[in-house]
């Protein structure tokens, strides 16, 4: 059974300018021990999909569809019921470690409260577990860090604390929302290798939300590319990189510097802007930016279809040959 199974999820936000549809009916499931990379630009709905799962949508947000966590429908649960799961069997790491920790509480307090809340541990037992977990995420002098405040730690250190916090209850599912975006490149590499180790050791299902294909290449087994609240392509990580089938995926890859092709080709940007979610173009949402678009793309939204075992795409073009 999948750890998390999302079916026909739609997420919308009521704004003074009208309803904004952030997620337009996506399906995805993640198995135990699997790492899935969710890739897309800002506003593609990749974060909001999992905010909905965590019950963390903004006040004006509503979600429809099904989110099954270990078989149990959790979408629409109240915070009391969700609190059995959040931070316990399902936990999340956020993008900005500089602001994600409570500034006036010691690191130790913020870690141990997870264990006292979910596992009913006493203060001392919880503190011992927290120190052990800080050691696992390779924080030097963990006992001293426990007594420190967040502002006394560097960004990379704080993100490790966040990771430790998320792993304290040995979750079935770990959602990492841009876990390395706010970090220095050298620190990014350390955090990524740490996450790879932990995933292998704990056999946790990992959802990696990012706009950085490099991060995905290093960590994910499977990739889902999202655009304008829809999945446009999905497949095993190797094939997505070597043989992208959707023009948007191809555009993302071409805009990324690659060390194995240094000097061979120029980086190209995807023309245009991400679409306004309140006025999506007719047919395929990517059409206005797509070099391969033809009449059918304007009339009909492409469905996500199987193209090979484990591979799906939502595009009317059979092959991506250059059009003159």
């Amino acid at each position: 059974m999948a750890v998390i199974d999302i079916r026909n999820l739609e997420v919308g936000f009521d704004t003074p300018e009208g309803k904004v549809q952030a997620v337009n009916g996506i399906n995805l499931s993640v198995d135990r021990g699997e790492c899935i990379g969710i890739v897309g630009e800002s506003g593609s709905g990749k974060s909001q999909t999992f905010m909905a799962a965590m019950g963390l949508l903004a006040r004006n947000g509503t979600a429809r569809g099904e989110i099954l966590f270990q078989g149990e429908q959790i979408l629409g649960l109240g915070s009391r019921a969700l609190n059995r799961i959040r931070g316990n069997a399902m936990s999340m790491i956020f993008q900005d470690p500089m602001t994600a920790l409570t500034p006036h509480l010691r690191i130790g307090d913020q870690l141990t409260e997870v264990l006292t809340t979910h596992k009913g541990l006493g203060k001392r037992a919880a503190a011992a577990r927290a120190v052990a977990m800080l050691e696992q995420v390779r924080i030097p002098e963990p006992a001293r860090r426990m007594r420190q405040y967040p502002h006394e730690l560097s960004g990379g250190m704080r993100q490790r604390v966040m990771i430790a916090m998320a792993l304290l209850c040995e979750p079935e599912l770990l959602i990492a929302d841009e876990p390395t975006t706010a970090l220095d490149v050298t620190v990014q590499a350390q955090v990524l290798s740490l996450m790879r180790d932990l995933k292998d050791r704990l056999n946790t299902a990992l959802v990696l939300i990012t706009h950085d294909l490099g991060v995905v290449a290093g960590l994910a087994d499977r990739v889902m590319v999202m655009y304008a609240g829809l999945v446009v392509e999905e497949g095993p990580v190797e094939t997505i990189f070597t043989d992208p089938r959707h023009p948007y995926t191809q555009g993302l890859l071409n805009s990324m510097p690659r060390i194995d092709r240094a000097g061979e080709e120029r980086l190209t940007a995807i023309p245009g802007q991400p679409p306004n979610l309140q006025r999506l173009p007719s047919g395929c949402a990517f059409r206005p930016r797509c070099a391969y678009a033809f009449e059918r793309c304007e009339q009909e939204r492409p469905e996500l279809e199987d193209i090979a075992p484990g591979r799906r795409k939502a595009c009317h073009r059979e092959r991506l040959e250059a059009v003159s």
Partner: protein, 307 residues
Amino acid sequence: MGSYALRRLIGVVPTLLVIITVAFFMIRVAPGGPFDIERTLPPEIEANIKAAYDLDKPLVVQYIKYLGGVLTGDFGPSYKYKDFTVAELIGAGFPVSLKLGASAMLIALVLGVTLGTVAALRQNSALDYAVMTVAMTGIALPNFVIAPLLALVFGIYLSLLPVAGWSDGGMADMVLPVTAMALPYIAYIARLTRGSMIEVLRSNFIRTARAKGLPEHRVVTKHALRAALLPVVSFLGPATAGIITGSVVIEQIFQVPGIGRYFVQGALNRDYTLVMGVVIFYATLIMVLNLVVDLLYAVLDPRVRYK
């Protein structure tokens, strides 16, 4: 932090000197004197009395003599309440004023923070609008309007509480003056708390706390409240000053024998030493309480360090 507090305390001295000087000469500008009464005294007797209190000497000489007295802790005798020194009068009035002011402050804090938090948690609900409307009214009405209204309604129309007076300083005597003093501050603090609480509840660390699966009351009290209280703590400095100066009016209206009333009486009677004594006392109190507030800030926010 200890050396910071010490330096701030030493800084009080020059400020006080300026306050004493300005106040000393300002009261003397007011026409009349402490011994002007309707039936004028024979000139010889008046001259005698003035000589006894050094009032016949040049103003500068009086000022220097007064300063010398203050330095040794002697605030002089009261001109009007004969047989009492100023220190004795302040000593008698302060416990009463403290009881009123501290109660008002405590109630304002507890109610203000609670109402503000509840309003923030139910943002844009009927409850939120109700709290904010009442708060707006509380801020708009000055306490010299609220006080007589309270006395009229609860003292006269409903006859529930004494209109004024301080027979034994019991609960019944305290309710109206404390309410009149606290109401505007409940309103201010509720508005401040609501605003900062709404902002804090949107912050990333609250999202983290919720993602951790903590019960909502823990998220609010442990993670949000302390951060949301920072602006309230900054407001406590001016608020204490406001409560102290407000007590002058309130004590007069409700005939409460605190320092505030001595201050008003002293000013009306040209009781120079009494007025000066109260001014020095108030000024010191406000400055020390402001220091306490600044130190409290560092306790709430570990990122603040005073050196």
